[in-house]
C-alpha cells in the first residue's frame, strides 16, 4: 500500500534462485564436493563393500598326512569359501608332519594370519577305514562373527556330508535301503549371483544424498547467520519464506543430478539393473529431499555456529545411516529399534530405491514407503519453515 509495491512472489523467488545457483556454481570446490565427490564415493563404496564371505584364510594342520587326509583337506577348500594360508600349506603337502600341532595353529590365529584352523588328527585315514570315528578339530577366530559363522558352517557342513555319505554307504553295504534324503534347490530372484554392488548402490545413494543435502544446508545457513548476510537480504523486499525456498531450490537440483549420476554409475560400472519405473524413483527422491533439506534447515535454526550445526547434523545423520537398513538388515535389530526405524526417512528411501531398481516395484508396491516419506517430509519441512520464519520474520 505504502511505498513501492513488492515484486510478485514469482519474481522474488526467481531472483533468489538465480543468485543462489550462481553462488553455488561459482564455488568450484563446493561443486566438486557436491557433485564429483558423491560419485567418487560411490565408486569406492561399490568396490569396497562386499558381503560375500569367501577366501577365509585357514591353516590346515594335517597331522595324518595320508592321501585320504589330503584329499579331504583339498575338497574342504574346493569351493573357495576357505583359503589355505601360511607355511602349513606347503609343508603339509610335502611331508607328513606330526610335530606341527595346535600350538602353531593358535599362533596363526593370535597373530591374525588365519581366521580358522582345521586340525586333522594323526591316524585319521587309518581310523576312518577301520570304521572307528576320528575327530576333526576346527578352531575359529570369533572376532568377526559373520566370518566365523560362515567358516564354521562350511567346515561342519563338509564333514557332515562326508559322514552322511559314509553312513549311507555302510547301510547299503549291510544290505538295507538307505532312507529318504531331502535336498534344497535355491532359485534366487533379481540378483542370482548375490553380488553386493546392486544391493549396496541404491542404499549408498540414499546415504550420500543425506550427507550432501542435510549437512550442507545446515552449515550453509549457519554460515550466513555467522556472517550476517541473511539479515542483509531480509532488508530487501524479499519475504523470508521466498528466501528460504530460493535457498533450497539449488540443492533440490543438485540432489537430482546426484541421484541420476549415481544411478548411471551403478548401471554402467556395477551392473545394477533398472527394472522399475523411473517416475517412482523420482517421486521418492523429491519426497526424500524434502525431509533431508527440512532437517538441515531445522538444524540451522537451532545452532549459532557452523561447528554446532555440523555436529548437530552428524548427530542426525549417523543414527539415520545406522538404522536405515543400508549397511545391516533392519530385521536383525531388536524389536524396539525396528519400531524406531519407521520414522527414519533413509530407511524408506533406501527401500524405494532398492525395490524400484532391483525388483521392478512401481507405485502400487511402494505405496507404504512413499506415504511414509511424504508424511515425514511434510511434517519436518513445515516445522522448519515455521521456525525459520519466526527466527527471521
Amino acid at each position: 500500500m505504502t511505498g513501492p509495491r513488492r515484486p510478485s512472489a514469482r519474481v522474488q523467488l526467481a531472483a533468489v534462485f538465480r543468485k543462489e545457483i550462481r553462488q553455488t556454481v561459482r564455488d568450484r570446490r563446493m561443486m566438486f564436493l557436491l557433485v564429483a565427490a558423491p560419485l567418487l564415493q560411490t565408486l569406492v563404496f561399490g568396490f569396497a563393500v562386499d558381503f560375500t564371505v569367501d577366501r577365509v584364510p585357514v591353516v590346515v594342520v594335517d597331522r595324518d598326512g595320508t592321501d585320504l587326509s589330503r584329499l579331504h583337506a583339498r575338497r574342504l577348500l574346493a569351493d573357495g569359501t576357505l583359503r589355505r594360508v601360511g607355511a602349513g600349506a606347503d609343508l603339509a603337502e610335502a611331508a607328513p608332519d606330526a610335530t606341527r600341532g595346535p600350538a602353531e595353529a593358535e599362533a596363526a590365529l593370535d597373530e591374525g594370519d588365519a581366521a580358522a584352523a582345521v586340525i586333522v588328527p594323526p591316524r585319521f585315514g587309518a581310523e576312518l577305514l577301520a570304521g572307528r570315528s576320528p575327530e576333526v578339530q576346527v578352531v575359529i577366530d570369533g572376532t568377526d562373527p559373520n566370518r566365523s559363522t560362515v567358516a564354521g558352517a562350511t567346515a561342519s557342513r563338509y564333514f557332515g556330508e562326508v559322514a552322511e555319505d559314509l553312513a549311507r554307504a555302510r547301510l547299503a553295504a549291510a544290505g538295507r535301503t538307505p532312507p529318504a534324503q531331502l535336498a534344497l534347490a535355491p532359485r534366487i530372484l533379481y540378483n542370482p549371483t548375490l553380488q553386493s554392488p546392486p544391493y549396496m548402490i541404491p542404499g549408498i545413494a540414499a546415504l550420500l544424498l543425506l550427507v550432501v543435502t542435510t549437512i550442507v544446508t545446515a552449515m550453509g545457513l549457519a554460515r550466513e547467520r555467522e556472517m550476517g548476510t541473511l539479515e542483509q537480504v531480509l532488508v530487501t523486499p524479499i519475504r523470508p519464506t521466498v528466501l528460504l525456498f530460493g535457498k533450497i531450490a539449488p540443492y533440490v537440483v543438485i540432489g537430482f543430478v546426484d541421484v541420476l549420476l549415481l544411478v548411471a554409475a551403478g548401471i554402467w560400472v556395477f551392473g545394477v539393473p533398472l527394472r522399475g519405473p523411473l517416475s517412482a524413483l523420482f517421486v521418492g527422491t523429491l519426497l526424500y529431499l524434502l525431509t533431508t533439506l527440512g532437517v538441515g534447515l531445522l538444524i540451522s535454526t537451532i545452532s549459532r555456529t557452523q561447528q554446532q550445526s555440523f555436529l548437530a547434523g552428524f548427530l542426525f545423520v549417523l543414527p539415520a545411516v545406522l538404522l536405515s537398513g543400508v549397511m545391516s538388515p533392519i530385521r536383525a535389530m531388536p524389536g524396539w529399534l525396528q519400531a524406531i526405524t519407521w520414522v527414519n526417512p533413509v530407511r524408506h528411501y533406501a527401500e524405494v530405491a532398492r525395490s524400484c531398481l532391483l525388483r521392478g516395484a512401481g507405485f502400487g508396491d511402494l505405496a507404504v514407503p512413499l506415504a511414509a516419506l511424504a508424511l515425514i517430509g511434510g511434517a519436518v519441512f513445515a516445522l522448519a519453515v515455521v521456525r525459520f520464519r519466526t527466527r527471521l520474520g
Binding site: S148, T149, R168, P178, A180, I188, Y190, P329, A332
Partner: protein, 377 residues
C-alpha cells in the same frame, strides 16, 4: 636454550588454554562431542548386527499331506524362519516387492509319497536376492534346516550306524559371536576420526574465516606453537572419547580388555595425533569450514568406515583398494585395538601397527606445519 624452551612452552600453554576456553564456553559443541560417542556405541552395539532370526518365508505346499505339513511345521517352527502364510509360487514377485516375505518355499506335490518310497526329494526355495545379506542367511538357514530334517527322517536307520566322522568346532575370542565385540574397536577408530579430524578442521578453518588467525600471527606466538596449542585440547578431548567408548563398551556390551591398557592408550594417542594433523592440514588447505567438513568427511570418515576393516573385511576388496587401505591409519588402529581388547595381544604382535601409526602421525604433522608456515610467509 632452556629458557627459550620454557618460554615457548608457556606460549603453547597460553594457546592451549585459550583454545580450551573456546571449547568450554561452547557447551553445545562439548556435549555433542561427548554424547556422540556414547550414542553411536549404543546404536552400533544394538543396531548393527548381521544375525537374523524369524525371517518370513511364504509356503507353497503343493502336496498338502500330513507329511508335507509336518515338514513345513518343522522348518518354520524354529527361531530362524517363520511362516509368512500360504502363497502361490507365481506370487513370489509381488510378495518380494512389498517386502512381505524374504523367500518362498515350494514343497512338490507327491512329497509324502516320495518320503514313503525313500527317494531323493528336491525342495525348491525362491529367494529374494535384492537384499544380499538376508538372502545369504535365508539360504544358509534353510539349507541347515532341510539337512536336519533329512537326518531326522533318516534317524531311525542311520542311528544304527556309528557316526563315521566327528567334527568339533571351537570358537575363540568371541565364542558367542556377538557383533558388539567386533564393532566396538572399530567404532573407536570411527569416532576418533570424526571428532579429531573434523573438529580441528572446523576450528582452525573458523579462525581463517573470521580473520582471527592473522591476529594470532601478530602476537609473539610462533607458528609451531600455534599448531601445538590448538591441537592440545582436542587431543585431550579425543583421549577422553576413547576412554569413554571402551568404558561404555565394557559396561554395556561386556567388551573385554584382555591386553595392556597402557599399550591401548599409546596406540590411541598416536592415532589421534595423526588424525589431528590431518584435520589441521585440511583446514590450512581449504580455509573454509564448509569445504573443510566435506573434505574431512571424504578423507577420514568414509575411509575409516569402509577401508579400515571395521565392518567389511579388507581381504575381500580388490587389490587396488587393499593397497589404498594401507595409508588409512584407522586400519592399523582397528587391527591393534581388536588385538589388545579381544585377543590380549602385546607389542610383539602389534608393533607393525604402532609403527605405521607413528609414521603417519609424523608425516602428516610435518606436512601440515610446512603448509601452515608457507601459507603465511
Amino acid at each position: 636454550m632452556n629458557d627459550r624452551l620454557r618460554r615457548s612452552l608457556v606460549r603453547v600453554g597460553a594457546m592451549a588454554s585459550k583454545e580450551t576456553l573456546h571449547v568450554l564456553r561452547d557447551p553445545r559443541t562439548l556435549v555433542l562431542a561427548l554424547v556422540m560417542p556414547v550414542l553411536m556405541l549404543f546404536l552400533f552395539g544394538f543396531g548393527v548386527s548381521f544375525d537374523l532370526d524369524r525371517v518370513p518365508v511364504a509356503i507353497a505346499d503343493a502336496d498338502r499331506t500330513p507329511a508335507s505339513r509336518e515338514l513345513v511345521r518343522r522348518l518354520t517352527g524354529a527361531r530362524e524362519l517363520v511362516s509368512a502364510g500360504e502363497a502361490d509360487p507365481a506370487d513370489a514377485d509381488r510378495l518380494f516387492r512389498r517386502g512381505e516375505a524374504a523367500a518362498v518355499l515350494v514343497v512338490p506335490s507327491g512329497y509324502g509319497a516320495q518320503v514313503a518310497r525313500r527317494e531323493r526329494i528336491t525342495l525348491q526355495l525362491l529367494a529374494d536376492g535384492s537384499d544380499v545379506v538376508v538372502a545369504n542367511q535365508v539360504l544358509a538357514k534353510a539349507d541347515a534346516l532341510v539337512r536336519a530334517e533329512s537326518r531326522r527322517l533318516a534317524g531311525v536307520d542311520l542311528a544304527r550306524v556309528d557316526p563315521p566322522l566327528q567334527v568339533k568346532l571351537w570358537t575363540r575370542y568371541n565364542p558367542a559371536g556377538r557383533s558388539a565385540l567386533f564393532m566396538v574397536p572399530g567404532l573407536a577408530a570411527y569416532i576418533l576420526a570424526i571428532s579429531a579430524v573434523l573438529l580441528t578442521a572446523l576450528t582452525v578453518a573458523g579462525e581463517w574465516e573470521r580473520g582471527s588467525m592473522e591476529q594470532l600471527f601478530a602476537s609473539p606466538v610462533g607458528r609451531l606453537e600455534i599448531v601445538l596449542g590448538k591441537l592440545a585440547p582436542y587431543l585431550v578431548l579425543g583421549m577422553l572419547e576413547l576412554l569413554l567408548v571402551v568404558a561404555f563398551g565394557a559396561a554395556v556390551f561386556d567388551v573385554p580388555v584382555r591386553g595392556s591398557l597402557a599399550l591401548f592408550l599409546v596406540v590411541g594417542f598416536f592415532f589421534l595425533v595423526g588424525m589431528l594433523g590431518q584435520g589441521l592440514l585440511i583446514s590450512v588447505v581449504t580455509k573454509n569450514q564448509l569445504v573443510a567438513t566435506q573434505a574431512g568427511t571424504m578423507s577420514s570418515l568414509l575411509p575409516s568406515l569402509l577401508l579400515s576393516g571395521m565392518v567389511f573385511p579388507i581381504e575381500n576388496m580388490p587389490p587396488a583398494l587393499q593397497l589404498l587401505s594401507r595409508v588409512v591409519p584407522a586400519r592399523y588402529l582397528v587391527h591393534a585395538l581388536r588385538g589388545i581388547l579381544l585377543k590380549g595381544n602385546g607389542l610383539a604382535a602389534l608393533w607393525p601397527d604402532l609403527l605405521a601409526l607413528i609414521a603417519f602421525a609424523v608425516a602428516v604433522l610435518a606436512l601440515a606445519t610446512a603448509r601452515f608456515q608457507r601459507r603465511l610467509a
